[in-house]
Symmetry: C4
Subunit: 192 residues, 4 copies
C-alpha cells in the first residue's frame, strides 16, 4: 500500500510538473519587440492577439489541470494503463505552447483548426483517463462520481471539433467566440 | 479530510511550479551576445539594464511566492473559488517574464507602465486570494491573521500604480527607484 | 530514518523535475512558422518531421521516467553513489531536447547517430542506477526484482546502438523504424 | 509544528524547482544548427565547447543542489532570514544558464571571469545559508555537522575567484582546467 501510494504521488508530481511547465512556457510566445523606443507603444499594441491566445491557452491548460487534479485526488493507486493514457494526455498538453502560439500569430482558419483539434483530442484522452481509473478500480471506495462527467467530456470535445468547420465557413474569430460556450458549461456545473 | 488535504497539496505544488518556472524563465531575457570576442566586454556591459530587470523581476516574483507560501501554510483545504482566483494570479505571474523583459530592454515610460500595471493588478488579485481564503473558511482554526495585511496589499498595489504617472511625468528611472519603497515596507513588517 | 526518507524524497522530486522540464522543452523545437497567412498550411505541413521527433522524444523520456519512478518506488533511502549516477543520467536526459531537435530538423545519418548514442548511453547509465541501488542495499526488503531487467536494459541499449550503422549503411528513416522494436519489448514485458 | 513543517517543505519544493529548471535550461544554450545537411557533421563538431560548458554548468548546479539538499534534510523549520538568503542563492543559480552560455560561446578571459564570479559569489551565499541555519537553530537536534564545511566553502569560492586572474594572465582554458581541483575536493570529502 505504502509503495503504491508513493507511485501514485510520483505520477501526480510528474503530471503537475508538465502542466505547470507547459502553462508557463505559453509566455514565450509573446515576444519582446525589437523596435526603436518611440515605436514601442504601437509594437506592444500589435501583441494584443498574442495576449488573447495566452489567456485562452492559460485557461484551457488550467482547466485540464483542474480536472486532472480532481480525478487524482480520488485515486488510491495507479497502474500501467493509467500511466500510459496519462503520458498521451501530457504529450498533447505539452504541444499546446506550440499550437497556442500559432493561434496567436495567425488569423487563419487552419490556426484555429490546429488548436481546436489539439484541445478536442486532449479532451477525449482525458475522458479515457477517467474511464481507465474507473475500469481498473483505482478510485477510493465511496468516491463521489459526477454522473454527467462523460457526457460533459463529449460535449466539451464537440465544442472544439465543431469550431473547425466554423473557422473555415464563417471566420476564425467567430470560432474563437464559440469557445466561450465552455465557460457556460463550467458555470452550469457550478464549478467548486 | 485526507482527500481534501491532497487536493490542497496539489494546488500548492502546481502554484509552486508556476512560480519557480516563471522566476527561472526571467534569465532567458538576458540574451547571450553574438559579437566578435574582443567586443564581448562592452556587449556584456550593455546588458546591465537587463540584469537590473532580472533582479527586480526575481525579487517581485519571490515576494509573491513568499506571500503565497505564507497564506497556504495556514490553509487546511481549498475550494473552487480559491483555485479560480489562484489561476488568475498565476496567469499574471506567468506573464511577468515578458513584462520584465520589456522593462529591461526599453528605457521608455510605457515599459515601466506595463510592468507596474502587471505587478499592481497581481497584487490586488493576491489580496482577493486572502479574502477568499478567509470568507470560505479555508484557514486552520486559530491561524494568526496579520491585521494590517489588507492595508499593506492596497499600499503595495498603490506604489506600483502610482509609478505609472511618475514614469510619464518625471522619468522611467525615477519610477523604478520609487519601487524601492517596497523594501521599506518589507522591513517595517519585520519580515521573518 | 525520517531524515533518510526526506533525502530520498528530494532526489525523487529533483529527478522528476528534470524529467518533466526536459520532456516539456521538447516543444520548443517545433518552431512557430513566420510566413504570410496563405502559406501557413504548407509551412505547418513542413513541420511534420519535427512533430514525429517530438513524439519519439516524448515517448523516450517518458519511458526513462517510468523506469526511474518504478525503481525509486522500491527504494527506502539514497546514498552518494546513487545521487552521482542519477545526476549523470539526468545530464543525459537534459540534453535530449537538443539531440531530439537535431533529429527532427535533419534527415541525415549523423542526426540519427547523435540521438541513438544519447539514448543508448542514457540506457546504460540507467542500468548502472539499478545496479547501484541493489549493490548498496537501498531497496525495501522484499522488493520484487524483475529478473530480466538487466538483460532488457542491454537489449534496449543495443537496439539504439545498432541503429547507428543502420542509419549510415541503409538510411536514416529505416533506422528510426527500427526503434519501433522497443514498443515490442514494452509489450512483451506486459507493461503494467 | 505541523504548519512549520509544511512551510519548510514548500521552501524545499520551490528551491528544488528552481535548481531543476535552471539545470535543464542549460540545454537551450546548445543551439540546433541551421546549415545544409552535408555540413551538419562539422556544425555539430563546432558545438563542442557549448557541450563542455553544458557539462560544467550541469555539474556545478548539481553540486549546489546536492549541498542544498543535504542542508535542508537536517532542518526542522525555516524562518524569514533563511528564505531571504535562499532567494539570493536561487537568484544566482537562476542566472547561471546565461553565464554558462557565455562561457560556452566565447573563449575570452571575461567569459571565464563572469562565470567564476557567478559561481564564487553563489558559493559564499551558500555558506551564509549554512550559517543562518545554525545561528537561528533551524536544524534538528543531534544533526551531524561537518566540522570542515565552512573551510571547504571558502576554499571552493577561492578556487573560482582565483581562476579570474588566471584567465587574464595565463589563458581562459587553463582557468577552466583549474576548476577540476573541485573534483579533488569532492573526493577528499569522500562524497557519499
Amino acid at each position: 500500500m505504502e509503495s503504491e501510494r508513493r507511485e501514485l504521488e510520483r505520477v501526480n508530481a510528474f503530471s503537475d510538473g508538465v502542466f505547470a511547465i507547459a502553462i508557463t512556457l505559453l509566455v514565450l510566445n509573446v515576444e519582446i519587440p525589437s523596435v526603436p523606443g518611440d515605436e514601442l507603444a504601437s509594437a506592444l499594441r500589435a501583441l494584443w492577439s498574442d495576449l488573447i491566445a495566452y489567456m485562452i491557452g492559460f485557461a484551457v491548460i488550467g482547466l485540464f489541470w483542474f480536472g486532472h487534479h480532481r480525478l487524482f485526488s480520488r485515486l488510491v493507486r495507479s497502474d500501467g494503463r493509467l500511466v500510459l493514457v496519462d503520458m498521451v494526455l501530457l504529450g498533447l498538453i505539452g504541444v499546446m505552447p506550440f499550437t497556442t502560439g500559432v493561434l496567436g500569430r495567425y488569423d487563419e482558419p487552419i490556426a484555429v483548426a490546429l488548436y481546436a483539434a489539439n484541445v478536442g483530442i486532449a479532451t477525449l484522452v482525458d475522458g479515457c483517463l477517467h474511464l481507465v481509473a474507473r475500469a481498473d478500480g483505482l478510485e477510493a471506495e465511496g468516491a463521489e462520481h459526477d454522473p454527467h462527467a462523460l457526457v460533459l467530456t463529449v460535449v466539451r470535445a464537440g465544442i472544439f471539433f465543431a469550431s473547425i468547420p466554423l473557422a473555415y465557413l464563417v471566420s476564425p474569430d467567430v470560432a474563437q467566440y464559440w469557445w466561450l460556450l465552455l465557460i457556460g458549461i463550467v458555470f452550469i456545473r457550478r464549478w467548486g
